[in-house]
Symmetry: C2
Amino acid sequence: MVNSADRAPERTAAETAPSEQQIVERIYAAVMEQRLPPRTRLTESMLCESFGVGRMRVRRALLLLASQGIVDLHSNKGAAVASPGRKEARDVFEARLALEPSIVRQVANRARPADLDALARHIAMEAASRNRRNRRDAIRLSGEFHLRLAETTGNAVLARMLRELVTRSSLIIGLFGTSGSPHCEEHEHAGILEALRRRDGDRAETLIRAHIMHIEADLDLSAASRAEPDLLSILGAAK
Amino acid sequence: MVNSADRAPERTAAETAPSEQQIVERIYAAVMEQRLPPRTRLTESMLCESFGVGRMRVRRALLLLASQGIVDLHSNKGAAVASPGRKEARDVFEARLALEPSIVRQVANRARPADLDALARHIAMEAASRNRRNRRDAIRLSGEFHLRLAETTGNAVLARMLRELVTRSSLIIGLFGTSGSPHCEEHEHAGILEALRRRDGDRAETLIRAHIMHIEADLDLSAASRAEPDLLSILGAAK
DNA sequence: CAGAACAAGATTGTTAACAAGATTGTCAAC
DNA sequence: GTTGACAATCTTGTTAACAATCTTGTTCTG
């Protein structure tokens, strides 16, 4: 009776049926930790028993995720984790280059000491995960640092937009990233925080711009990566 | 038999049942033209017969609109056109100040002559609507100019984000705007285009930043405007 | 044996009915 | 006459069944 089918159909009494917003959160987290690679099929029935909710909730959650570019949703063909192309990857990082310099400037001008301390603790967690070789947490925390910056501005609009961009960046890095461990980042996050502590908005802006460009430079957006013709190129090359 | 109730329940055979994306577009347009004022109740049954679709489509469309801050969606209480508060208004314009300077800089660097001509034609349409005292078109076109700029970058991510921000700005202007006709804008749009034609990115950036701040300066975000306690303040004042 | 037609299974899209909750109008009691 | 409770109506939230579409496996034919 115990089989692979009932991995998580029933949950403890404490967890009530999650709302669509909570379903979205959990898929967001899974994508940011690169546990859900691009092109992963997300069938409704599978999600229903995973979360213990009805089909309606799942469909609404998928619609929200699709509206933010996290999943692709084709008519009559179901949902799958999005697989951004090169053009889309460039667009996402261009948008980040537009938003994040403004964000760190605001933080430099308006952050309270407690906010900066929280950012320092976050960087410490990043370092701990990296030392512990906990790749999953390290990846998630590295992206979440940028979210924390956005949240520190107190601007909910900016925070929501950046959250979408950072999550899509995780997909992009999983698809096009070349170096497995971007340990350059940790050092750069610390440098940004130092500039923020000195209230040096110009410096913080320069640093985060360089930081984003470093992340993008680690990608291979040149030619024949995995994009649309996944199986064709693989089979053609293997033959 | 002809009554106010059947304003658009049946449509010509050419128009098939619109998809949820089309429903979203039409509500977007209505909000941008300030035909749907904030706090307007949007009951599902009303939308169903307005668009001639089932309840499912309407609910999905409302969910999408809610995820972008265009409508408020409270549990068991239905949907209503969003009524941004002062904080939200400031956040939206702060986000625009972050995005649009980058957008015009990109346009200055990369736009083709045909793109710039299209922008010129758009400004001409704005002027025509204004001369014709067509307030509805004038308002919509004025906002759409910023969307055209974003689309000219070719960056779909930026374009989608700005679309949300511009639409929410329409709501904000309707709520907090003081001068009825912002005819200053037309002149400013033309100035931005001129800078773009000269490929002067710095100048274009400066102009659009000033332009956005002018729009925001026309708002009254000080104290007791219409926000949350709409009826209470009205009744209290009328007494 | 290859290839196409066909059929079975599965998945998504849609509709309808039902249940739960909120608002409004009414009525009785003080 | 006013206030409170109650009931009717309307609106939303949920579930279940049904229809349409796609995928996959089989079989028949050349």
